[in-house]
Assembly symmetry: D2
Homo-oligomer: 352 residues x 4
């Protein structure tokens, strides 16, 4: 019963199989190989337009390099208080942007709001050199709270970006999970809603290490290969990233794995509600943050469930865990077996 994180899994079978398939023979290095070109073409198809795509191998690199491409001296990068770039990347964004400042925007359910963003940006009026200047807005889709921005919500944030002439970055570490939830097209969830640059994550959803930086504005992408190389993020045997992505995309595998993961999370959420529990935030992708009685939590752990307490920081007081309750995080992935969910729910039912 491993619900620790979606990065505790290995590679999905189709991904591993593609990697094995492309292991033989010689191929040009540093991204000049035909497989890389073919997978780049796949991105065009997926996004229904010519995009400029660069492969990297960690989500942190994808995010930080995306932000570097739009960096300004004294630049302020706006993101949710709980976002990965703010909390979990050890200042990689600050470093890659040569000293950018990540400005936290509060907001319910792990999402920033147009109002919150507007207010945060107001502290950086144009032309006041002391405060620095607005540089980028970054949203996570799905969010760190396991929620998903609607297309309207993205578009509304884009309006605020446009008003201040800054680009909109999407951290899509769980892009496929969000996409499966919304049931829209990749194009709709990105450039059609105003996203300028996307960290397209594939690692959590079934690759070993495969991420892509996708620019929808070719002008902004100019010279990005130098940022990537300067960061040490250009692979010599680059086809190993492309091969993973080939396997990831073929036969719609990526949406299938995401749909599976989301489904497991939904089942867990339902079981938790049936057991008298609740979740800290709506369960809209493959992560959930249940709140249960401590006795229930203990029973689940005792039964072998890999679950860990979570500091539920931004919960409204009337929603936060009570004295005898625990909030914890569960993450499902392509590799989460139905049986583990069954087993978990069975133990849980026994605690009621």
């Amino acid at each position: 019963m491993n619900f620790a994180s979606d990065n505790w899994a290995g590679a999905a079978p189709a991904v591993m199989s593609a990697l094995t398939r492309h292991n033989t023979g010689f191929s040009p290095a540093y991204g000049t190989d035909p497989l890389t070109a073919a997978v780049a073409e796949t991105f065009n198809e997926i996004f229904e337009r010519e995009v400029t795509v660069y492969f990297v191998a960690t989500g942190t690199a994808a995010n930080a390099l995306s932000l570097a491409a739009y960096a300004k001296p004294g630049g302020a990068i706006f993101c949710h208080r709980d976002s990965h770039i703010q909390v979990d990347e050890c200042n990689c964004p600050e470093f890659m942007t040569a000293g950018g400042k990540l400005v936290s925007v509060a907001g319910a359910n792990g999402k920033i709001t147009p109002d919150g963003l507007t207010k945060a940006m107001a502290a950086f009026p144009d032309g006041v050199v002391h405060h620095g200047q607005v540089a980028t807005v970054s949203i996570s889709q799905a969010t760190e709270s396991g929620t998903v921005y609607s297309l309207d919500e993205i578009a509304a944030l884009k309006e605020v970006c446009t008003a201040r002439s800054v680009p909109l970055h999407m951290d899509g570490a769980r892009f496929a999970n969000a996409l499966a939830t919304l049931g829209c097209t990749p194009a709709e969830m990105t450039w059609k809603s105003g996203v300028d640059v996307l960290s397209f994550g594939a690692t959590k959803n079934g690759c070993w290490c495969a991420e892509a930086v996708v620019f929808f504005d070719p002008e902004a992408a100019r010279g990005f290969e130098y940022f990537r190389k300067r960061g040490g993020h250009l692979f010599s045997k680059s086809r190993f990233v492309a091969a993973q992505l080939e396997g990831y995309f073929e036969d719609g595998n990526w949406l299938e794995t995401a749909t599976h993961a989301n489904g497991m999370a939904t089942r867990l959420a339902e079981g938790i509600r049936e057991a008298g529990g609740r979740t800290a935030w709506p369960v809209e992708a493959n992560e959930l943050f249940p709140i249960l009685k401590r006795s229930q939590f203990n029973a689940l752990q005792a039964a072998g469930a890999m679950i860990y307490e979570w500091p539920a920081k931004d919960l409204e007081p009337d929603h936060a865990p009570a004295e005898d309750e625990v909030c914890f995080r569960m993450v499902c992935s392509f590799a989460t077996p139905d049986q583990d969910v069954d087993a978990f729910l069975k133990v849980l039912a026994g605690t009621v």
Copy 2:
């Protein structure tokens, strides 16, 4: 007949097999998995002492992060004029060291000499703030010219380092090739000769993307994990690097692949000499830089040999290619088949 580069190959069978073997099940992320711990232990055995080892996935990252660990404001990093960090890493070392200056040291056969190093360092006297301060010395083993430092040569450079109190870094992108040539132990080629930190390369010699930063001074390693993460070089599914290295090391596979590659290069060099050619530098590892008549070069290319002209920059005038000659680079790897060498030499023999 692919002699383009050792990074045009895929992964060696043992490496691919280990990767496949470790693909199932769940494992803690970000380097906290048992496989990573086990492979780290293997490094202790290989180097016959407790070392502090960090896995990354590109040689550029390994080099630049190693240098970052020893960076100083206004720091000068001394390296060969043709070294990878100076010529081929798009300022990643400069960036990761927050503005370090790479100072080129000339020297025959791709190697810096104690005398050349001493002179270069003399431009940075202690306490003269304008010029900056000496920070690190970096050597490549094997070198970019396909040569190998002897243990005595390394030890002699270490003396210069010690005189100025700077650490000695070794770029071991082709560590195994050099080791196979010297026939010494990894310990002898590194800390016993004075190396403080090593970029241990495994990618070129049979992995997909597996490199390690090996510190022989645990004190210098303190906090290095923050440099790695700040650079975006910590992998979530980190066992995929460890798995490659497990396969790389098992049954002495890494030395076998290196020995094979070196042997192919030696055979090529012999054939070239027999055909009336020469090499720009001694052939001591898996790279060679032949100088042949242009007609011979053309015949080889026409026969399908993937070989490309090389600017033989630092050749003494009496050794440089003549008007009707061409210098080109050939690199052998674990994947270079005997048949390709046979075929190449047969074509070459026909040109005499």
Copy 3:
């Protein structure tokens, strides 16, 4: 009636006079001149111990370079939400620390509290690489709210620093003003209370541009001259900074100017209370943030008072300006004439 800022003044007479006095003759450049040495000796006397002192010329440089000396990869620097380094330095601290993150700590009256600091630091547990690592704590004395930390308050913050093994930095842009208020010795307000490094500001209190970075730990100061020079902050004709400071210190001039400025602020605060107004925060140095009826504010502006509205961000709701009220900032300096205060108070009295 100019109350815009203490940096709208020129240099105090004693400072200008010293600068003129030292204008003739030749003197070694780059800080090696005898006057610089003599003024450095004065710092030893003022702080009653051997200190290591470096002159720079902007407060932003002093702060950012101080923090650079203690920077770590992924480092978190804790400071008040309204501090100058967080709000007014255009990411200079982030840049000079190669990507440090400034973590805002809320707190009443412009001061961080031990409890707030402990909580903020708890988000950066030792050894969790994702979040980065604690690096420095920075307090402003006097604060941006015009208040002053007591010696006990500083010592209490130092305890929190010690518990996490981080140094305590003091931004003393208004050091003399705070010192005049506390009536203690410079030693007591700094190293005796636990301050490790001080940005000693002299510009606002009567110099043209003279600041000093004062290290109380000589070990931490090692190599700082390279940070200063790398930032472009070493002056060739360096005696011009030393000369300002000579004039600043002679005959206790610096405390006299600070006392004058503080006194002007106190008089203004009293007059404001008498006119039915209040101040947003206690008036403890040379700045005040009055809250008056808008009609009063308008009358004062109409009478020529250079005063500007201020966003009173962190005021408790029951203390914030009402609908018909305005909060504004006033800053007094050595150059604020008694007559201007008289005139201001006279206009104000007429509005009651």
Copy 4:
């Protein structure tokens, strides 16, 4: 007899007088004062066009920030091997450009040549990410060897820049000295010859600390104020820089001081030739590098001349100091009195 450096002097009388004159009263801070605006207008007049000018206070800051404005990831900055940015700025250019690489170009008389530049740039072909990318070319006028580029020489270098689409930076730490030598207009020596951005130095020629970054391309200047502030180089009492420059320019003072300094150097050079000596490079501005018998050198030092040996690195073997000769540097400034030159020459004449 102080010939140590032109930064051993204080401020010229006109500069000091202007500083004193502007010391009284209040003035807006951070470059928004009317005096700053007026002096900026003077720059327009001097350069016969609208320029965008930013004041800083060290030459190192002016240079490094100029280069930062044109920085690219993996950027190569081409400069003379002996240039100040390469040798004397403690990696400030590397740091401010977030890891730029300064590529040394050899060349006689302290000047880079179109041919040398073309060759150096050839190592950075467009689109080859490993080597990085060409970013800027920087020349010093006057050079560190005391020579001056002719207008034709500048224009020829500009052609090479244009061919590779990079801007041309001029380090004008001794701008006035070069101008006085060429007898051309400031416009001719800069934008009319192809200079895109200029570090306009005034410190060495009579200010305390006053430098200006002058952009001839307003588009490139956009946002430069954020670079300046991020570097900690925006002064609060900014009129103190403007005041110096007002005094510097008034009544043609700046050209007069430069002409005086140049004249002193010329007289010294003539006397040296008369005494059987020579100079390492042509004496074209206010610096000279005499080569004399060691006995003559010793006699001069004994007589009180402040002169120091100089490593004459790039001299052709047949021009370098012989065994019994010494090369040393002499710098004249506005403050070098005729009497000192007389005295020096008299001592020298006695050695013949």
